[in-house]
Symmetry: C2
Subunit: 313 residues, 2 copies
């Protein structure tokens, strides 16, 4: 049985997400028509996942549907924006109904969890590739950016780092992967509610997609400051030196890294509890530039942001 473009959208995606009141027209017209909230700004992010580059062709389609959306929601989380609308451009080598069923299920569940509506899409035939554009809204004076860190601010991260990168290494090397690490790789949880709780509170924020050193390095360069990170405080690192690379430069964590005024540090525990995620203080912003890693003996390693994950490098 063959399906045409309209059938695919109709059958798998038009009912995927629950309707929002601010969507005048969703899938099916030339454009989606959306009603922005007065007084808020739009946060928009686009990401592409390509087969054999970002995921393996035999990946569970449900986890792929989840992850491609999680990666994009993580960008909204980093700005403190509330997810609203998403468009999906899906390039498929063939129409595999079982695959579409599972993919749309993984995608739809995460979308509904965050009240995100699918409002537009395009399906084309070609090598498997997925491009999403997510739209969120946030108050202009509360939006989280990269350039607001101040000297003395605490550097914090959510969750545990390096698990996804470690799982990927193990899969590539054919060694065993723990269930927890596989979940971190295939079903990352974007820190949307934590990002929203941090808006107007954190001084700078970024999501960890390219690795701690690279991403914290972006906060440093945007804020024109140095990050002094205590190696022993990084969640997930412990004393296992083999974890150094996945934790510091592996990427694919989708945790938040943010700076926070020390005088309000008691609020961190509240935010962690309220949004059900662990928050670790891993260092402090100082005068200077770049990311410094300080070990237990007080020795300092300078890290460059080139050590993060980069496409095309």
């Amino acid at each position: 049985m063959s399906l045409n473009e309209f059938d695919i959208i109709q059958q798998y995606f038009s009912l995927l997400t629950r309707p929002r009141k601010d969507v005048m027209t969703g899938i099916g017209d030339d454009c989606a028509l959306l009603v922005p909230e007065t007084g808020k700004i739009l946060a928009v992010s686009t990401d592409t996942l390509v087969v054999d580059r970002h995921f393996l062709s035999d990946v569970d389609p449900a986890s792929l549907g989840h992850k491609c959306l999680a990666v994009n929601l993580s960008d909204l989380a980093a700005m403190g924006a509330e997810p609203c609308w998403v468009t999906l451009a899906l390039t498929l080598p063939e129409v595999n109904e079982n695959w579409l069923d599972k993919f749309s299920q993984g995608f739809g569940e995460l979308a509904n969890q965050h009240k995100l509506q699918l409002v537009g899409g395009d399906t084309t035939r070609g090598p498997l590739s997925i491009t999403l554009t997510v739209h969120g809204q946030v108050e202009q004076d509360k939006v989280l950016k990269r350039d607001g860190a101040r000297v003395g601010d605490l550097i914090c991260v959510t969750g545990t780092l390096g698990q996804a990168a470690q799982a990927l290494n193990n899969i590539i090397n054919g060694t065993s992967v723990s269930e927890k690490a596989r979940k971190a790789l295939e079903w990352p949880q974007p820190r949307v509610t934590t990002g929203i709780a941090l808006k107007g509170q954190a001084t700078a924020c970024i999501d960890l997609s390219d690795g701690l050193i690279a991403d914290l390095g972006h906060i440093c360069s945007a804020s024109k400051l140095k990050a002094e990170v205590e190696k022993s405080a990084i969640p997930g690192l412990g004393n296992d030196e083999s974890l150094l690379e996945p934790v510091l430069t592996g990427g694919d964590d989708y945790e938040l890294c943010f700076t926070f005024p020390e005088k309000h540090k008691d609020r961190l525990a509240q935010i962690a509890e309220q949004t059900e995620v662990s928050i670790s203080v891993i260092g402090r912003m100082g005068e200077g530039q770049g990311v410094e890693l300080i070990d237990d003996a007080g020795l300092i390693m300078e890290m460059t942001d080139k050590q993060g994950y980069m496409h095309f490098s």
Copy 2:
């Protein structure tokens, strides 16, 4: 020389389009931050072009940069929306600086012509593929949709139909292609200013991407009416029967097809002159369903919207 992802965005795209006042943050942060105009709604459209499916790998990269944007701007034109922001997801098999130079030039010129700013992007390695998401703004009570046509409304199209499809046929068959037809195929002009001039005036509108029969069929089904089209009035058809297929079902025209109240038909000439495009009245909306084609002898052919261009069929 190899370039990494940040260099590509920096070098080719960050300065591609002129800054708009309503862009707080463009390329370079996790999300673009955009300030919507109070009282307007957002029109958002996504399209993907894939190599060997939508274009040949040896296509002039400047025309490709132009065309991928033109296709998306045409969707905004169909709603009467004013172009504002665009995100670009570019998947490239390799970093070819000559190709990037030309592609970004074709893209940038059309973007600047319509005051559109590139606000976000993602570059990945893989088979050549381009996904754009364009954002426009329009007054809620003036937006053009597909479902507003009324009995007696005139059916109109801009420009000349079938040239792009005819050019593609000739290229595939190795026969000669006129300069004009090649231009229609490779450098389509989205009818943005005409769409804006039609907002609040036309009763329904669509852009001709899948062919007249299919696209006008969408207006018919959304408006629950029939379209009675006079074959001899279709611009580009003439008496050449070999043009029937490209004109009616070829697609790739990116002209507007709209319905217009007959009592205001004198405004059509003004809009045509003002926006420098020809407008042809090709028929009238009536009770019933589907698209009917009436020839000089008064014979009626019923057309189904399945005859338009469809992916995956």
